[in-house]
Symmetry: D2
Subunit: 341 residues, 4 copies
């Protein structure tokens, strides 16, 4: 690829996630990673060691004002997403934003408007959508093999890094919510969320999120920073088949069970067997593509910018996740009152 | 033991659970199992084959009116619990009732009153309290080894038998609620429950139950009749240690993790590591006593009747479970409105 | 079925295995279980409690001499198999013998000859051949889906009951050997076995058995009475697919992996990738029939006696197992010298 | 550390393993990684991209003849180990050799002699000895908690990379053999090995290795390149406790079971319960240190060279592994004849 076709980009924020993104932009022949910024001296030093050839700045604005930069990837803490994305869009740059897109629905909507006005692209880093496992489940569901979806139940717990600016809901749930909304493609109707803060810093470390999608289709997410074991298990119940997605499995992450129930005549003589017939068949685990998700994601970002290829993690997708998070936050702070969306 | 010291008893209801109880009363030298009743001819026939020496009746009242019978075990569907228990107590018999104790709080309270007035005993069949695993967890918690309990999270899902008179909450959750209230020994403050009915018979087949115990102590139960795999996992988080109780494990059902967090000074330079210090030590699985739960339970029922030994599944314990179930039912039918207890 | 078509039978030996067989003969409408024998007063008492209607004897000969008895099931310790089977055959009775068939090849051959001469049937209780899992594997292999079998590797270890008359090889390996020879249907060429006795009673409590079937088809069995965990894992490698059979799994006991290798041109530039191409596809777990193995086995015994239906656990099959065991014993006592069969 | 105290080193061979070693030497402040060699242009190019500052050579002799180089790490295929190590030692350089040390016992002995004569150090890259799991097991065994060791049983199977110069025994078994000899610290008496080649290139892809350590202490290793699943399970039976080491576990890799047997009086009345009493207590999983093994190994190499600190993977340890491999090879090529060591 000729240099003129490549996209010169920068990574803003070099904490936990930034290095992963920087590596992928650096290794991707369609991008030229020019610069990295971070407020921390220590992390800038690390960036310099990792990539001697790259410019580093403590002030992100120096990058945003660099006319050579065509796109920026915002990997800072959530509270800084909006300010940096806004500045970048106003400076005419395409934007990739770490999840969750913003801290409020209003901010997300403003960024989408800004992008449209300036004919720029916003993509949100919903990494899991690029994993082989989630892509496999999407194919299974779209093919109709699972039938009508009944529920989506996700558990994401472990002894996790307590964030000091956001609670466990904003930290972990974006993964589950982005997967759920991507797979279901149904607009959520309302949200109920509950949780607790056991550290006493006002940030819930355990939370339960219930999403009503209407027509008895429900979603549930359990996120927990204070669990003794790492669980990453999603159950998806369908009218024809059911899926168990265990992301901690080294292989066979996705298992498809030929199980279900159908209504039949009840058994008047046995009050315990009634009205329902059970079907149990084979289980199978489709082969999962192991391509690194971030590599696919960076390629997708390129196609989105250069060719306007439709993607499933654009600003609107990011907005939907923030809507659910904001409503959940409102619900959790009001003892689980139901919030319409 | 001389016959005069033995308790002559009967089992009312010989469907799914009755045969287990009958076997234990039959094998227990402290009891004389005299009769069994069931509305179903077919099941009475089975009872006769299993125990040729025992009298069987289609009408439970024949047993309740038998002056020789000192105690009855009610193993019928829930809706019949109150009527039979009331009749038995009025006939001067001690009562063991399958869980849940009754369909309403009012019924449970009336039975408790009746028993007190007639100086009789009511015990509720909270079977799990008699398992080695639950007893081991109770000892761990009471010893202080776990510290203050933060949360109790229980998942009980599989492709389950759809009941035609009660929903999944009334069918499965009594197990988790009875274990939870037994282990925590804290009065619940309020309940929020949500669920869905995918069969269209008005009975939820999946439900989520959230119990607020105050002071950031929370309980959560996920019950599901429509899951592709059988999960029986309970997480208990404490200030000192945490427990994982997996009832599907053939051995090592209870695992104790020396894991936890403590507040320390934040790291100003790293926004991602903050305020909290993590501790990870050994894990161990205490040896679990494998005595059959029902055998212990039947022995306990005898001691309760003959010696008034204090038990943890008396009428009051059964009432607490029914209170939570009734409130949950109310919540679930009102889109998860929070119900004070 | 009319009584005249039923087979009147008896169970000789009521220790560990006898009660299971007695229950299945008792519940099976094609058989009439008339009597049970055991040298132990205690165990005879237990038999009497379990089946009040049945006659019990301390001397098996009283049963063998009972003209009404048409078939006997020998569930005694191994050393007594030959003597009792011989007497039963000479008395004109069909015989079902617990595995292993006999203590020596000579004994097994003599019993087969006796049966043929008296036109009677011998069946050996290779229980696993009647499980849904083993039957499913047999179908998979016979269908050609697995391709040519390369190896059969079985591990059967746990903290097991030390026998006082036989070593772990004679106690546990008959299961694996009978499954292996049934699935492979190839005559073994030679045997090498090694083991150790850590108790000092002259009986190995851990043993490794290697069976050469020729043409690079190999079998290996690891049996161990002194293992901390219960493992029941069999790996079967084929030219097209591979099987993992884990008998400790509650469901999905048999998993079929679409994995394999093929020879291709080597990569001259990479000495580490060479000559071989790897194929990895889906995994699936066929639904397993859960019918109790012993029920099927007892039905099979009936058909074998009444209709001469061909079975896969006749005297010849039992003899093959004993041949391998005897050769293994010889090998193990001679530091693993290779024994031709 | 001052540069004069640092060790200038080189990595010979940049295929599968070389890059891991290069990274660790590069990141370790006690070493100065000066150069890398490999016969493959492609791999040299990769080395240059990974470490722009480092010199690369196609001919290892250019490095061996570089007076600045004080130590070399040989990461080439096995057949080249001896030639390169010999040259390096003759050129006065310390040597770290990838496992297995050499292709023959004679070669290994010669290298040891050469090193002694030239007062140089040889260390063999038995990586697993530096993992937290193996170090934890060593502590457990040395502390006496496990008691007398009865057996060491290791399974290392998966769909593995077929080597074109060595069989599965020489490829995988060095890991198990080095762990086994390190933990047991007993001289092996004899070896019996069997295996098969299903590809037809003369190299076994499945092998069983049995090591007799005398006094009923036995070792067994099952290595397999053609297995459908990845298994890394080691059972260690002791007179007091038993260990299960599962290297595929993300955490709790080492589990200690308080299980065992003791001889007691037999039960005359029950032929099936005899002579032995069983003990089953708690299980626990000690916390495992997660320091990268190679980092520890490189530090150890430094201390060995500079301070002569005693190590457990010196030339003698490497020689022991080669002795067992050579004997196994001899056994496997002679239908498992027992080879004295």
């Amino acid at each position: 690829m000729e240099d003129k076709d490549k996209i010169t980009c920068a990574v803003l924020g070099y904490g936990y996630w930034g290095p992963n993104m920087a590596r992928n932009f650096f290794q991707n022949s369609k991008f030229i990673l020019k610069s990295i910024s971070d407020v921390s001296e220590a992390r800038l030093k690390k960036a310099k060691i990792d990539y001697p050839s790259i410019q580093v700045y403590q002030d992100s604005m120096e990058i945003i004002n660099d006319p050579e930069i065509e796109a920026v990837d915002i990997c800072t803490p959530v509270f800084a997403h909006y300010k940096l994305a806004k500045a970048a869009l106003e400076a005419g740059k395409h934007v990739l934003i770490e999840k969750p897109m913003t801290s409020t629905v209003q901010e997300a909507e403003h960024l989408i408007r800004l992008a449209k006005e300036n004919n720029l692209k916003i993509m949100v880093d919903h990494t899991f959508l690029f994993t082989g496992a989630v892509r496999a489940m999407k194919e299974l569901i779209d093919s109709g093999e699972i039938g009508d979806i009944y529920y989506f139940d996700s558990v994401r717990v472990n002894l996790g890094l307590f964030q000091h600016d956001i609670n466990v809901l904003w930290d972990l749930a974006p993964h589950d919510i982005s997967i759920m909304t991507y797979l279901l493609e149904v607009d959520p109707v309302s949200v109920t969320a509950l949780g607790a803060d056991h550290i006493g810093n006002g940030l819930e470390n355990v939370a339960y999120l219930y999403v009503d999608f209407g027509n008895e289709l429900i979603g549930h997410v359990h996120v927990n920073w204070l669990a003794p074991v790492k669980l990453r298990t999603t159950l998806i119940g369908g009218s024809k088949k059911m899926i168990v997605y265990d992301d901690t499995e080294p292989s066979e992450k996705v298992r498809v069970y030929d199980k279900g129930v159908e209504i039949v005549n009840g058994d008047v003589d046995n009050i315990y067997k009634t009205l329902v017939q059970y079907r149990t068949g084979d289980m199978y685990a489709p082969k999962i593509d192991n391509t690194e998700a971030l590599r696919l994601e960076v390629d997708t970002f390129y196609d989105y910018i250069r060719n306007g290829t439709k993607i499933n993690c654009d600003g609107e997708a990011g907005l939907t996740v923030v809507k659910i998070l904001e409503a959940s936050q409102q619900s959790i702070k009001n003892q689980g009152v139901n919030i319409k969306l």
